[in-house]
Symmetry: C2
Subunit: 185 residues, 2 copies
DNA sequence: ACCTGAACACCGTTCAAGT
DNA sequence: ACCTGAACACCGTTCAAGT
């Protein structure tokens, strides 16, 4: 890659992260191009679709997911608290940009999506947390981690689209958690 | 209202129902105007915003909701089956048009929305079903019917946006149901 | 009063012309 | 090889001109 191309690539990513954070993942592509000081065609050359750009931006704040999941697994919290802590982190992470929950949850289990790899990271982390509870027989057995991601993602989607407060998210997550655990203590 | 205006109003509604059903609630407004044989300005005169049009179209298939809820309440099904039956009907109803779950769930509890009245009908019906279970002490007490509508609506949103099969919806609803009931039988 | 449809605005996407 | 930005397409919304 030529030096100017590399410079543009990096500048676009930097500006995109900023614009997505200000205006959400549906922000006009042209805003990003203008603020990055490149022509629209240049942006399309580097990132043919919006999802390719989102994929690159999301990468930077998705790699802490594994650490968070491992922390929860290692924490020895009771099942209810462990799940709440994990799901809360999950929702917070995918809700970092407006439109994020819908984009990410919509791509869950959809191998054609440019952001599929990021979804798989989330799903695998979720599977580790669920697995540690399953071993102890705490978890219902008729649902897999993909569907749990969709269900928790669903909560994040309505919270994001409706601007719901954290308490509302918490109370919905508590219902989901009780539904996932085998028997109430 | 003048005779031609009334005729246009009815024609627009008829065509809108058809187009929304074919292409979803985000279908181009102009498609509806063209197929109804009116100018774009006429459609905007009758329905200033898309949501006003959606509100009018949704009205026709929202009035069976009360009957469905009353059937479930009168049925004497066990709690789990009663809720599954009701939530399944709830999801089916709001998913009739693509984009419906997001529109309706997004307007839940938002009094400014043109479709707020329809949401209130849904919420009130849901409250009746939940109330009949609450009386018998079957239901957790720390969540209200609005949040239950949002949670079940959330399932419908991801199912609609991801094109998920009915089995997937069922398994997510089963988790929600177990989370809402006080103790597993 | 109500209707029409051209006109404007906005934004995504492409591509001929440049370097 | 890469970049630019004008041009095109699409769609929502308005409004001057008609009846």
């Amino acid at each position: 890659m030529r030096a100017d191309a590399l410079k543009n690539h990096e500048k676009i990513l930097e500006v995109a992260a900023q614009v997505f954070s200000e205006r959400g993942l549906d922000a006009p592509i042209d805003d990003i191009a203008t603020r990055a000081g490149v022509g629209a065609g240049t942006l399309y050359r580097h990132f043919p679709t919006r999802d390719d750009l989102i994929d690159a931006v999301v990468k930077s704040w998705m790699n802490q997911v594994d650490a968070t999941a491992d922390d929860v697994v290692a924490s020895d919290l009771p099942p209810r608290e462990a799940l709440l802590s994990w799901f809360d982190a999950y929702v917070t992470r995918i809700s970092r940009n407006k439109g994020g929950p819908a984009k990410i949850t919509g791509a869950m289990g959809n191998a054609d999506s440019p952001i599929y790899t990021k979804c798989e990271t989330l799903r695998a982390a979720n599977e580790r947390v669920l697995g540690s509870l399953r071993e102890r027989g705490e978890l219902r057995s008729d649902i897999d981690s993909l569907e749990v991601c969709r269900l928790v993602g669903a909560v994040a989607v309505v919270a994001d689209q409706g601007g719901l407060p954290p308490e509302s998210v918490r109370s919905m997550l508590n219902v989901v958690i009780d539904g996932l655990l085998n028997s109430p203590s």
